[in-house]
Amino acid sequence: MPRFLSAKPDARLIPLPWNTPLEHWPLEHLVALPRGISRHVVRFIKVGEEIYAAKEVVEHSAIAEYRLLHDLKRLQTPAVEPVGVVTGRVAEDGQALDPVLITRHLQFSLPYRSLFSVGVRPDTVTRLLDAMVVLLAKLHLVGFLWGDVSLSNTLFRRDAGEFAAYLVDAETGELHETLSDGQREHDLEIARVNLFGEFSDLEAGGMLDTALDPATLVETIETRYQELWSELTEPEEFDDSQLSRIEGRVRRLNALGFDVAELDITTDIDGTTIRIQPKVVDAGHHSRRLLRLTGLDTEENQARRLLNDLDTYSARTGQQNMDEAVVAHQWLTHSFEPVIEAVPESLRSKLEPAQVFHEVLEYRWYRSEEAGREIPLVEAAHMYVNDVLHNLPDEAVSSENLELIPDQGHRRLQNPYDPGQGFADEQEMPIDDPWEADAEAPPQTLGFADIAALRAKAGKKF
């Protein structure tokens, strides 16, 4: 009998055919969403309105990853939400099946292969890499050693004009008090190799813009990571006439989306040289502020954009000296909500509300420039819905708007549920492999050391 380990169980998962290997599940339970490559069998399963990702993996790994994802959630790092682990699976023929780790599908998320399948601009790739670097730095700040940094193990969400990256696979991860330089460097090296492999694969599959070079792309990861890490953690020294640099450092970190929780400030004996070093920095500076003021839970750059609009609203209405929370409430009811309400119900799964608001602001600016007058916000919202939103693909996933994506470019995937299977037009005959025949031989020594064999190997008689 299958057993469920779950903190927040979804009872609708229980009757699913857990005693069937995932790769043989009836299609009625599955959805073919774009995703990265995995060494395990991974399927997206549909239960009512919910989509879950299910991964077949050995028990200790499944449970360790489930707990690690919980820890990451507790530490407020961007990662998928663990839902449960199903153990005790036994196939019809009596064979034990590996447990299944279930995570909740991240709404409005975009796996890199779906972004590339429709062609992607070089600057989009750069923004994806930037998001990945920010994710890696966030994980390293909380002491998380990923161990398998890759695009396949990451999901992206739109974040105003940028992307926000989420960790999807924590199987090889470890949570430490802090990471050593060697551990961070190790993760970076893995990132370089894996991303080079993934970009080379896209290139081989005809999905990478010819202007993009995998080697140059992975080089940027290292430089950008080092720049960000240095800004987040490195000490800075200056003389006592430059005290404003303390404020400047804090502002720069805020601009990068980080709050400084602890700043270590020391002076030399005569007090002329000052040394500052951020000790604790927390990601989410803007999103936390927006959440506090308005209750809106958004990505970091979306929050930055909305807060800028809130500041503009405040200035425009002459309320700079009013209580910020009061103005924020007005902005929410007079600006944000009317824009979101301008989106018909049928188009609400195209983009997240905060992303819609950001895009309306962008759209309004361009249209106002063209028109030579400032177009009112709600009017711009209606124009945006008709001109742009209508034509966008749905990025939310629900049972109503499931858009199966079985094809990549002009070629059909061998298995729409598993991109790791390659294209359907690549058929090959099997090859005899003596190593496989050896591996099939019944193991004589799995549980016991074969001492007689060791003696024979050592050339001894016994």
């Binding site: 490559i37 995995s38 060494r39 993996v57 050995v58 200790h60 790994s61 590996d98 398998d148 890759s150 396949s152 199987e171 008090e177 050593s180 330089d181 060697g182 551990q183 460097e185 190790h186 090296e189 370089r192 190799v193 894996n194 080079f196 492999g197 993934e198 080379s200 694969d201 896209l202 081989a204 599959g205 995998p214 080697a215 992975v218 061998q414 991109p419 790791g420 299977q421 390659g422 294209f423 690549e426 090959e428 090859i431 492999d433 003596p434 190593w435 496989e436 050896d438 591996a439 193991p443 020594t445 799995l446 549980g447 016991f448 050391a449 001492i451 060791l454 003696r455 050592a458 001894k460």
Partner: protein, 357 residues
């Protein structure tokens, strides 16, 4: 290829009272397959990570060949973590999947192809090089993962519990493949596992660790035949060595009512009043001799051609296991005589746990 040396290498985690690895001195020979084994928390993974540069060395040093690498960044150490990257890219051939990291390092095409072919020959993958990876079995995929490390031609291979995340079938086939590769490759390898059977099967030598301290480093047979202390004796072997309290007496060691005959010079070397007697289940045999100990059989297991008898000597004392080859194994409740060859008896100091003979 190179030697590897840990010299008084110590790792103390911040805030920890005791070192995770305590003054480790270990020399790995050029081309040797060294396995680090021990229970969870013994310091084996920390040791591997000190060599890889992932863990800082609190004191002491780590050497690769003639170079002190203690402070060297990981990427400058010329090591390869085998099985670190499993993902097979569907639009690249098996050969491209094996050699792509060389392309990133700007290794010329001809050299890349040569190295990939050499690795493929070692791994029996020559015929697969131009194929797409989708048709590969789990075992073949593991070999491609090994190939990725081989083509890099590092000085040292590192493998950290490589079988632990595989299902049972793949674990067996991958272990077989690593063993096959080990004899051909001759590259210095440090392999970490908690599984003593894996360690004994794969290692040229095996280093047993416990609570951060190296207990013994020896060939698998030497660990089996002459464990240096009670911990190694009980850790190596399934079922584990039988350990019984004994008292030195004239002519041997008394265990319960029975006196185990031992050479006089051995008994004379014992300075304490009590010793720990160790006998492997494999070394106990059923005899007809009334001189041998009476064994009260309480449970019998027949997992294969051998019978595992569990019971007690003279119906008292700790549980003893005997692995016997017999067509008609005794039943639970029966009494049989068990004998052991004199040179198969291990004696340990009860006070220190160290081997006496």
């Amino acid at each position: 290829m190179a030697t590897v040396s840990f010299r008084d290498a110590t790792r103390v985690y911040p805030g920890a009272d005791t070192p995770a690895v305590d003054r480790l001195n270990l020399d790995i020979n050029d081309g040797e397959f060294m396995v680090l084994v021990g229970p969870s928390g013994c310091g084996k993974s920390t040791t591997l990570r000190m060599l890889a540069g992932l863990e800082e060395v609190t004191s002491g040093s780590v050497w690769i060949g003639e170079q002190d690498v203690t402070e060297l960044p990981p990427k400058d150490r010329d090591l390869a973590m085998v099985f670190q990257n499993y993902a097979l890219y569907p639009h690249m051939t098996v050969g491209e999947n094996m050699g792509f990291a060389l392309k990133m390092q700007n290794v010329p095409k001809e050299e890349r192809e040569h190295r990939v072919m050499e690795a493929a020959k070692l791994l029996g993958l020559e015929e697969f090089l131009d194929r797409w990876p989708k048709a590969l079995s789990g075992g073949q995929r593991q070999r491609v993962a090994m190939g990725r490390a081989i083509v890099r031609q590092p000085q040292v291979f590192l493998m950290d519990e490589p079988l632990s995340n595989l299902d049972a079938k793949l674990r067996v086939s991958t272990r077989t493949q690593i063993a096959a590769l080990q004899t051909r490759l001759e590259v210095t390898t440090l392999y970490v596992t908690h599984d003593q059977v894996e360690a004994m099967t794969l290692g040229d030598r095996v280093a047993v660790m416990r609570e951060g301290v190296l207990q013994q480093v020896d060939s698998p047979l030497a660990l089996w035949d002459t464990p240096k202390n009670v911990f190694v004796a009980s850790f190596i072997g399934t079922p584990p060595m039988n350990l019984m309290p004994g008292t030195p007496v004239d002519g041997g060691i008394r265990i319960g009512k029975h006196v185990l005959a031992m050479p006089r010079e051995t008994v004379e070397r014992i300075t304490d009043d009590e010793v720990t007697v160790g006998i492997r289940p494999d070394n106990l045999v059923i005899t007809d001799s009334p001189e041998d100990a009476e064994f009260h059989v309480e449970k019998v297991e027949l997992p294969g051609s051998d019978a595992y008898l569990y019971g007690t000597i003279d119906g008292a004392g700790p549980e003893v296991c005997a692995r016997v080859q017999t067509r008609r194994p005794p039943q639970a409740g029966e009494r049989v005589r068990l004998g052991v060859a004199e040179d198969r008896i291990h004696l340990f100091s009860t006070r220190t746990g160290d081997r006496i003979s």
